[in-house]
Symmetry: C2
Subunit: 320 residues, 2 copies
């Protein structure tokens, strides 16, 4: 049975993945901390920014490594040094440590390394739908760090030290739990809060279009990437993943269909020019032909995205 | 008068640039070594891979820094560690050192930083002409290192620590001097050696198409980039530069027009499958609309490229 390491295993996507791998899998969760109701797996607290940590983890020669650990985009923008240290240099140290194990193993150890990149590697102006050959031109430090990691992972893979791929995840929606400081938080909040009988703030116009996939899809993407035949990637190891593109108005219509007008009435429009400006720079739609041909699948309606939240994460009984 | 630093100032392009800046300019040439007939400027020998060197150079607060220093593609491919150390980490240390000076100057010091990237940031399959929005998907360590430097430079620039841009140079042709170990060496060799009355080896079919600009254009690109209004780049700070696309057969026809059949007769076709395979992965043609709109200019015929070699570099009197 393959031995799996999830870097960032205490985070939302890491937890979804660990749940999906199940209690019988040999999974190690590495993170600075873990939730109280942690998913199954060996909990290993630590800080990946320390090169000695990367060497220690590499020495355990996991078969599959999911690298989900990151400073979120808002913090990477305000704390430039920390963002580059955690989001870029930690990847460098990890790749160097895995290369050392590869060489020490007489080139027999070649771990699968699945890295969660982001649509933040893109910057406008955009075409109506971003194709698989569109340039990476990040306009945030977070996006720049993800872009650099993609290129490093690709070159270490091309040389045979690791067998990696980078998944450019859509915005994950509906995120369970509390709102966070991310500018994208409202995309989940305007669905999650009303479904929990709470008011939600909409800080942008409902004409804003964005690119979504559910947490369940995120976990499925990662599991699919863990066993994909990477020969098929032909050395283009960063993939735009499938998602569902819709406007905020379409999100709200889906909420109305599923939970009724009383849920929609809990959304308050409260324009925030800072958030509007940030969101204005984000991708709106993709044409991810390569990932679809490689078997990656996401939701095909926002109704499905809401239903998945209700099935997987709604704490109380569904509304409506 | 602006104070200028040329990192890699001892190399071919650095020397061309220093000559063009002229003896009255305040130029410092930094490199591990310098040619005997060195261009005008203060020679500063040293190794940029040392972070202390980057800090020392940054502390001198040059107005304009040209960063041309690199391990060439062949060596970066065979010596993986050295390539990443010199071509990537040295840029990181330089950017960190310049950021520290920026902050120490109360944010008044913002040097122009012109970085020579390369068409090696691209990887096939290619469209007939590579547009300005085509993805970077390097298939060599050299290309990967250049790509990473572009992204880092862009983010440090977006934050206002430096004012940088990356120039993706075409293959520079006709290179003066001796053949080198680069797989691209023959593109110059089949012109330069016959013009000097010597035999040249052609290791690929004459149907191979490639993207060229003269050393004179390279120096002009750099000078244009030093004073360009970078606001016009709208945070896409890596530029595909203009060049001239032609096949090897068209190169040879131009040689025939300029130097006669006796020059062409000095070219020997001697297929080399290793070189063919490498060259097969290279870009062939571009549509560099942005750079042209920004005022970058290159040759529009291979005849002109040959004439520039004869004017600027041919040691003896021209043939033919």
């Amino acid at each position: 049975m393959s031995r799996t390491l999830i870097l960032g295993g205490g985070g939302m996507v890491g937890q979804k993945l660990a749940h999906r791998l199940g209690p019988d899998a040999d999974v190690t969760l590495f993170d600075i901390g873990f939730p109280a109701d942690c998913a199954p797996g060996h909990q290993r607290p630590g800080n990946l920014a320390d090169p000695a940590t990367a060497r220690q983890l590499a020495s355990e020669r996991f078969d599959v490594i999911f690298h989900l650990a990151a400073i979120v985009s808002g913090e990477a923008e305000t704390d430039f040094e920390k963002g580059w240290a955690v989001n870029m240099m930690a990847m460098w140290h990890l790749l160097e440590a895995l290369k050392a194990e590869h060489l020490a193993s007489d080139r027999t150890y070649v771990p699968r390394l699945v890295f969660t990149s982001s649509i933040a590697v893109f910057g406008g102006p955009y075409p109506d739908r971003i194709g698989d050959e569109f340039l990476s031109a990040p306009q945030t430090s977070y996006g720049a760090q993800k872009s650099v990691c993609e290129v490093m992972l690709s070159d270490f893979s091309r040389k045979g030290f690791v067998d990696g791929l980078s998944l450019r995840l859509p915005t994950i929606c509906v995120r369970p739990g509390k709102p966070n400081a991310a500018a994208s938080s409202f995309f989940s909040g305007i669905i999650r809060e009303p479904l929990n009988g709470q008011q939600a703030i909409l800080p942008v116009a409902d004409t804003v279009r964005h690119w979504h996939a559910s947490p369940r899809s995120a976990a499925r993407f990662l599991m699919h990437a863990a066993t994909l035949d990477t020969e098929l990637l032909q050395n283009r190891r960063a993939l735009n993943l499938p998602g569902f593109s819709c406007t905020v108005a379409e999100q709200i219509e889906a909420l109305r269909r599923i939970a009724g007008q009383q849920a929609v009435d809990l959304i308050q429009y409260q324009p925030d020019s800072t958030i509007m400006k940030i969101v204005d720079g984000w991708p709106r739609n993709f044409d991810p032909q390569r990932a679809i041909a490689l078997g990656f699948k996401a939701e095909t309606s926002f109704d499905d995205i809401i239903k998945i939240y209700i099935e997987d994460d709604l704490p109380s009984s569904p509304v409506g």
